[in-house]
Each structure stands twice: as structure tokens, then as C-alpha cells.
């Protein structure tokens, strides 16, 4: 079974994120970057599928040179090899363009299952699984909180999260699976895993290698016109409960006409 997992390097969750004022793209240079936390769940699920049914897990990333750090993290968790789409022309790509580039790379990998996580902490789009399904013409099994693979019948069944519960959805392989964070508990890379990751095969693909012709800021379908920090809230009022905390909140709510 060939399993491809997309992972994205994002600005550190706990650091302040900002746009680069020169071209209004996400600033990926100045702060610390990490593998998108949600992608750990995708990598974990791929490893579990491999452990249950055999096969190979390939990590796929599109991003600047230093996104290789995210690749190393995924490899150290136990993935077998990686493909890095890296080209200056990718800078500023929007979600639709990114999906086209990722899809072009996935086509060369003969995947049985493509695993994405639901959203990255920087863009919070939650659309990559849907876009990859569209680009690749594969069934969309996204928002999965449980995944069951049946190699015999070549089907994948998921529990897709809904507003008030879930729906069970089944599709033939190959398929695109999108996971939510309730699905598993990602493993920590072991020391052995970290050492082994350095020696695992890594293929670097340029836009031309992958056959991607339209990428980057200039041909993006969307454009950012401006950005400003959200005006800071004026400091709130904080009181210590002296036995009347509840009434004080009620007074406040009444003063705001909220009750």
C-alpha cells in the first residue's frame, strides 16, 4: 500500500504570526517554524495504516528550502521517504495553486491513499483535502475521526464529523483521506527515529520537475490588499471574587444590555 501524507511547515503556533508587509504573504522567514501540529495526526494515521496492512509512507511538502525541517520531523516519526516541492516560483501560492502542485507530485507516486490533515494553523482553510480530491479525481473522505482500510475489497471507510454527530462514508481506493485531531494520539519521534530520518531518501522537485506551470503570487486567484493588527481590546475589568463575583458579572452584563 502506498500512502502519501501531506505536511506543511507553518509559523510556530505559539509565536506571533504576521504578514510580510512587502508582498502581503505569510511571513515564513523571521520567526520559528514548525510542522503544522495537525499534520502529526495525518502522519500518525498513515503509520498506523502501514503497520496494519504493510506498505510505504511518503511525506510530501511544498514550501521553501527550510520546510525540510518539517519533513525531517515526519520522517523521524517513522515515515519511509519524502518528496519536497521546492521552487522560488511557489512563493505566494494560494490554496488552489498549492493543490495543483501537490496533485502533480502525487500523480508520480501512485498513491493508494493520500492523507491530509484538516487544517493548517496558519491559513486555517480546511479545504486541501477537497481540492486534492477534485484535482486528482479521487473520492473525498475528509473530516475523518476514524479510518478503516480494507485491502481485500480495496475500500476505505471513515466516520466523517458533522455538526451533531457523524456520517459513515465508504469509497474505493485510491482515495483522499482528511483527518481531524480526534482520530489518534500522535507518537513522539524516538532518538533512533531522529537519527534514522537523516538517512532516509528525500527527492527535491522543482516546479518544472513536477510539471507545474502556474504557481506563485502573480498568478494566484486571490490577492491580499492590506493587513492591520486587530485593534487591541481595551483592557478588561478584572475583579477578585469576594463572595459576590456572580452578581458582579450580572451587573456587568446588565450594563452592556446583555441581560
Amino acid at each position: 500500500m502506498n500512502i502519501v501524507v501531506t505536511v506543511k511547515q507553518v509559523p510556530d503556533t505559539y509565536a506571533e504570526k504576521k504578514l510580510d508587509p512587502s508582498d502581503m504573504t505569510t511571513d515564513r522567514k523571521s520567526g520559528d517554524n514548525v510542522m503544522n501540529e495537525m499534520d502529526e495526526y495525518g502522519v500518525e494515521e498513515a503509520l498506523r495504516i502501514k503497520e496494519a496492512h504493510g506498505g510505504e509512507v511518503t511525506i510530501l511538502t511544498m514550501g521553501p528550502e527550510k520546510a525540510v525541517e518539517a519533513i525531517r520531523k515526519a520522517l523521524s516519526m517513522g515515515a519511509d521517504k519524502a518528496v519536497h516541492l521546492s521552487d522560488d516560483s511557489f512563493h505566494g501560492s494560494d490554496a488552489i495553486q498549492t493543490s495543483a502542485a501537490l496533485a502533480a507530485a502525487i500523480k508520480t507516486l501512485e498513491a493508494d491513499i493520500v492523507v491530509v490533515s484538516t487544517e493548517a494553523s496558519d491559513a486555517r482553510g480546511g479545504v486541501m483535502g477537497a481540492l486534492l480530491s477534485e484535482q486528482l479525481g479521487l473520492p473525498q473522505l475528509t473530516l475523518a475521526r476514524k479510518v478503516t482500510v480494507d485491502p481485500g475489497s480495496k475500500t476505505v471507510t471513515i466516520e466523517r464529523q458533522t455538526d451533531d454527530g457523524y456520517v459513515t462514508v465508504e469509497a474505493p481506493m485510491p482515495a483522499v483521506v482528511g483527518v481531524v485531531e480526534k482520530i489518534n494520539e500522535p507518537r513522539y519521534p524516538s532518538f533512533k527515529g531522529i537519527m534514522a530520518a537523516k538517512k532516509k531518501p528525500l527527492t527535491i522537485l522543482s516546479a518544472a520537475d513536477a510539471g507545474v506551470t502556474s504557481a506563485g503570487l502573480d498568478s494566484a486567484t486571490t490577492a491580499v490588499d492590506g493587513a492591520e493588527p486587530r485593534p487591541p481590546k481595551s483592557a478588561g475589568q478584572i475583579v477578585k471574587d469576594e463572595g459576590d463575583g456572580g452578581s458582579k458579572v450580572a451587573d456587568f452584563l446588565a450594563s452592556q444590555k446583555l441581560i
Binding site: 477537497a130 455538526d163 465508504e170 490588499d225 463575583g245 456587568f252
Partner: protein
């Protein structure tokens, strides 16, 4: 006037409040046409609602395939309609499934996609609150039809009579759209309370509640306020409350008039889901808890003392 398509957000035909918000917003941009996609016989329940909020036209697509297969049939129907009508924009709710439908439809129709918009100007520039609520961005779609997903609770719905002239869609789905088949539908969390993303007031509980039983305190306050109940991931992971109620980066994004956090520390992933709430109140026994950086009003104290007292006061004052 330019046509604006509005994808109707509904449950088995019954429109959700966000549909009224989208139609209200669409009226400021052009002439709103609602797009209803649902199972056979479901449209009847939406009809009068769409007229009441100013839909001039309604494109009605009813087919079992729209319910039996995930996302792809809806995306095909929406893309075909958008390509045929070339509207000035297509609006939908920035909710998980509608965003997926919009993304696929935008790709098919050669348009562009913006999500998490909180406002749209008449020249179709969208305001988005990004990076967990810290930054406000203005953006636009520069190629093809703009597909813009709008966050629930961004506009107050205002009624306006529309003709709601019906046009039946001639639906034909490709085989490729009929591969991810729904086998079963399970409802786990039906509480009778307002839906989390639509509620005007949300009361959320976290690890500070100590146990599932602790949520009684949250529910009592929520019921006194007519609020929805939310939870932090710590609380849903512990199994104290259903995960459908999780607020945050990997849960729901809420933007109510009033958000009350009980025993929640205010981790960055939680903030990402509630930071744009208009008024924020927190009760936490730790004066250093980061949630206090966000609040309009905070009480440092034991939630098991403060929340019941608040519930009592609210009930009393409502008379």
C-alpha cells in the same frame, strides 16, 4: 443589478440562521439568488424563509445523490450553475462542509476562494480575521468568479421581501462525483439548545470543571441565558462533553455577542475559535490565566461559587 448567488445552509430543508445573514449581506452587493441543494422534497421547508430574507430567485436542485454522496455532487451543481450564470460572487457559510463545496466548485469554475470573511464591501473586497484573530486582512479574488465563505454571526439578518422565483436545476452528476458514499448518519449530540456557531451567547467549560458532572454548572448558566454550550479540548478529550461542542482551532469557531469561559486557561488553540466574540467574560481561579488578556470582564475565583450565583442573578433579573 449584478446577481449574487447564495448557497443555502440548511438541515434537511430547514434553513439555518446563517442563510438569512448571507442573504442580508448579498443584498448590499447586488441581487441575491438563493441556491438550494438538498434531497428530494426538502426544498418545501426552505421556500418561505428564502422569500422572507429577500431572495429574488431560487435555483432549486433536489436529488438523492446530493445527500448520498459527500461534497462532490454539490460542488458539481454549484460550479455548473456559477459557470452558466456568471454571478458577481457566490457566497456560502464558512462552515466545514460548505467550504469544501466552495473550494471544489471554485476550482471547477475557474474562480478563486476566500474563507472566514466577516464582511464584504460593495466592490467585493472581503475582510478576514486571520492568525487566530490577531490580524485583519482585506483581500479579493482576482481571477474568475469570487467564491467567498462568510463566518456565521458576521451580519445581523434583516428581513426584506423577495420574489423567490423558482428555477429548477437540471442535475446530472458524473460517475466520479458518486464515489464517496454515505452509508449511515448518526446524531450524537442533540441538546435542544441553540447551535454553537449560530448562538448569540455561548457558555464554555474547561478542565477546571473537574469532571463530566461539572458541566451541570455550565448547562444551568447556559439555559438561564438561552445560550449554547461549548467546551475546551481538555474537556472533550477527557470525555466530559461531546467533541461536537469543542471550541477552538480544531473545534468550532464561534463569534457570539457574549462568550463566557468557565475554568478555561485560554490556550492559543482555544483562542483561535472564540477571539472574535463581541464580549468575553471569564471565571478562573488563576489570576495569571491567559484568558484574562482577552476579557471584557473577568472574575478571579472558584467557578463553582461564581457561576451558580450568576445563574441565579440572571434568572432573578429576567423576572
Amino acid at each position: 443589478m449584478a446577481e449574487i448567488l447564495v448557497l443555502v445552509e440548511h438541515e434537511n430543508g430547514t434553513p439555518k440562521k446563517v442563510t438569512a445573514e448571507l442573504l442580508t449581506l448579498a443584498r448590499t452587493l447586488g441581487e441575491p439568488s438563493a441556491v438550494f441543494l438538498g434531497g428530494e422534497g426538502t426544498y418545501e421547508k426552505a421556500k418561505s424563509f428564502l422569500a422572507e430574507y429577500g431572495a429574488e430567485k431560487v435555483y432549486v436542485g433536489e436529488s438523492a445523490d446530493l445527500q448520498d454522496f459527500v461534497v462532490a455532487p454539490k460542488a458539481e451543481a454549484l460550479a455548473a450553475l456559477a459557470s452558466a450564470k456568471s454571478p458577481a460572487a457566490v457566497l456560502m457559510a464558512s462552515a466545514p462542509e460548505s467550504r469544501e463545496v466552495a473550494a471544489r466548485a471554485a476550482l471547477k469554475a475557474g474562480g478563486g476562494l476566500l474563507w472566514d470573511a466577516v464582511d464584504i464591501t460593495p466592490d467585493l473586497k472581503a475582510t478576514q480575521v486571520v492568525f487566530g484573530g490577531g490580524t485583519i486582512v482585506t483581500s479579493h479574488v482576482k481571477t474568475g468568479i469570487p467564491f467567498i465563505a462568510v463566518r456565521p454571526n458576521s451580519t445581523s439578518p434583516e428581513a426584506a421581501t423577495g420574489t423567490a422565483a423558482e428555477e429548477k436545476l437540471d442535475l446530472a452528476f458524473s460517475d466520479g462525483a458518486k464515489t464517496a458514499k454515505v452509508l449511515d448518519r448518526v446524531v450524537e449530540a442533540k441538546s435542544g439548545r441553540p447551535e454553537l456557531t449560530e448562538a448569540a451567547v455561548v457558555v464554555s467549560g474547561g478542565r477546571g470543571l473537574g469532571a463530566a458532572e461539572g458541566f451541570e454548572v455550565v448547562e444551568k448558566l447556559a439555559d438561564a441565558l438561552g445560550a449554547a454550550v461549548g467546551a475546551s479540548r481538555a474537556a472533550t478529550d477527557a470525555g466530559w462533553y461531546p467533541h461536537q461542542n469543542q471550541v477552538g482551532q480544531t473545534g468550532k469557531t464561534v463569534s457570539p455577542q457574549l462568550y463566557i469561559a468557565l475554568g478555561i486557561s485560554g490556550a492559543i488553540q482555544h483562542r483561535a475559535g472564540m477571539q472574535t466574540s463581541k464580549t468575553i467574560v471569564a471565571v478562573n481561579k488563576d489570576p495569571e490565566a491567559p484568558i484574562f488578556e482577552l476579557v471584557d470582564f473577568g472574575v478571579v475565583g472558584d467557578l463553582f461559587a461564581v457561576a451558580p450565583q450568576l445563574t441565579e442573578e440572571v434568572t432573578k433579573r429576567k423576572g
